[in-house]
Symmetry: C2
Subunit: 348 residues, 2 copies
């Protein structure tokens, strides 16, 4: 069931299950062991047995803490003393900042000037130094590499890093350890760190499990890359799933995705919104748009798995309520002209 190796040989598969098991030990007592939620309503609607792994309850509100901490915990004493650098306006920024606080490593985060004030404050609250840049005129990569070199900082990228990938893989490891083998595992995909890490874990712990990556239709680079077996890109896709706006898979994640993932699918913006608020209203879970991607594939019938045991990863819950209120208004406006949800009749 596993695809033939692309892009050279097995040397390109830099992360193994042993790395994930080691990451799990490092994260013991540091990351939350997040709950797995079930819902009789969801099971009835999908005709499956569904297990939601709720990383919205992870520290900093998203799975990103796992990878950041796992990478930073392995730095040498010298690297720790000099500090870590990251680029991010989102969950990775907070993950790096909190890991730095816990490990006593100074952190510098490059954030765009127009990042939401609440995210700047949260990241600064964990003790990170914030460096603002103008994304219209400055390249964060250039700036960052320059600062990293000047100050001797270690750059921790948000997904394309073996120890980050191994950390994210502990999510699926925990899920399968708790609920047992799965027939399907649905995971959202931005840069592919969570997807590839979880795919490696599931491949070892639940060998029959089909791993399916889920992207927004508007940011379908990984899906196109997967099916064409050639790296594809997107530029500033206008999806509400901000965690999936990443322009391309990485040099580590792409081969891992090709090797361990069984299929990639996409969901519409309307499907993401509907699913997000369904999870809020019915499951009582505050989920961010990206966090609803995997669930959307199942609840909207893109993936249909009657009778199967299905793991669904809810990747995060960092949405500010002002933005959510706007999205809710948008969802309400959208709900009329759209085709009905496959199971809408059952609910009426």
């Amino acid at each position: 069931m596993v695809n033939a190796l692309p892009l050279g040989d097995s040397n390109s598969l830099v992360v193994t299950y042993a790395d994930i098991a080691a990451a799990a030990e490092r994260l013991q007592g540091k990351a939350h062991h997040t709950p797995v939620m079930t819902s009789t309503t969801v099971d009835r609607l999908t005709q499956s047995q569904v297990f939601f792994k709720c990383e919205n309850f992870q520290r900093i509100g998203a799975f990103k803490f796992r990878g950041a901490y796992n990478a930073m915990a392995q730095l040498s004493p010298e690297q720790r003393e000099r500090g870590v650098l990251a680029f991010s306006s989102g969950n990775h920024a907070q993950a790096i900042a909190l890991s730095g606080q816990l490990l006593n490593i100074p952190t510098t985060i490059f954030m765009p000037e127009d990042a939401p004030a609440v995210k700047l404050a949260a990241t600064r609250g964990y003790g990170a130094e914030i460096v603002l840049f103008d994304r219209a005129t400055q390249s964060r990569e250039e700036l960052g590499h320059q600062v990293a070199q000047e100050r001797g900082l270690t750059l921790i990228p948000p997904y394309d890093h073996p120890q980050v990938i191994a950390g994210q893989g502990t999510t699926a490891k925990e899920l399968i350890a708790e609920v047992g083998p799965l027939d399907f595992l649905l995971v959202c995909c931005g840069g592919g760190g969570l997807l590839s890490g979880c795919a490696i874990a599931a491949h070892t712990l639940s060998p029959g499990c089909q791993i399916i990556g889920v992207e927004p239709k508007l940011a379908d680079d990984a899906t196109r890359s997967f099916h064409s077996r050639t790296l594809q890109t997107v530029h500033n896709p206008n999806t509400i799933a901000d965690g999936a706006r990443t322009p391309y898979l990485g040099k580590y994640t792409f081969p891992l995705v090709l090797h361990y993932v069984h299929d990639m699918v996409t969901v519409s913006e309307a499907a993401i919104l509907r699913t997000m608020f369904f999870l809020w209203e019915r499951l009582k879970l505050v989920v961010e748009p990206t966090g609803a991607l995997a669930a959307a594939a199942l609840l909207e019938g893109v993936v249909s798995a009657p009778g199967a045991r299905v793991g669904v990863i809810i990747s995060g819950g960092n949405v500010d309520l002002k933005q959510a209120a706007k999205l809710f208004a948008k969802a309400s406006r959208l709900s009329k002209p759209l085709p009905p949800i496959p199971w809408a009749r059952e609910l009426s």
Copy 2:
């Protein structure tokens, strides 16, 4: 530490820990064993170790399922065949309807004509027969008793019923079994079913624990009853915590509250709103206004317990998002002229 017995002798204390233990066995595999959540942010802000028992994840979205199921599971074969009657426009209605579906008992629910369509649909969805009445011109008690007598139905009240109280007490039993002894247990109070049940459980399982009931200031009948040791009432209080609009404690719950509860406190409407959205945004929990009452007492500094182990019951999460969006707008308008939250400086 337990108050002297009021209103006669110990015969007025109709529920014992043994009833709660028996209820827990009946609920095994029927009710969800809801997760306990912790938050390093909350612990830091309150200087306590806080354990949130999340009944918003209970079946039907609130603790009410426990009491309804426990009461209905003990009906005789004749009573089951004739069926059950309840009055409720809220969580009790859905709890009775779902319990009826699971136990194969027909249910009839009296709901006011102006109940939200979504609640009518949800209750009907569990197979209950809905009888609408005009609350301006008809007394639901009179109507209900008439119908109950005509059809031989058994009336299950929402809180003032020994087996309902015993069922609700399983909430605290589960919490203490999972996290160990507590110094404080904070529980919201409407009619006192959840509060008295949980107080009995904590009294046995965590003998040093101080049990504190929390009401809205606008619906403070139980607090006044507790302090005056005489039953007090409120009429149609205009609190957003709709589960706490109950006009008075019951003939079973009042003696139990006086005997087992250590203190009663109240929180403002602004405190309820702020806490509710704090729980949404920071803990990623969708909580209804009543569900935020107990947490509000702690987060707003009404109860201060530095160094203590504090259990907080989140009673439910049934709020529709349209209403929540309105409440959020209200909270945003309120936030300026109000006195700052005690820990606001720490967050800025």
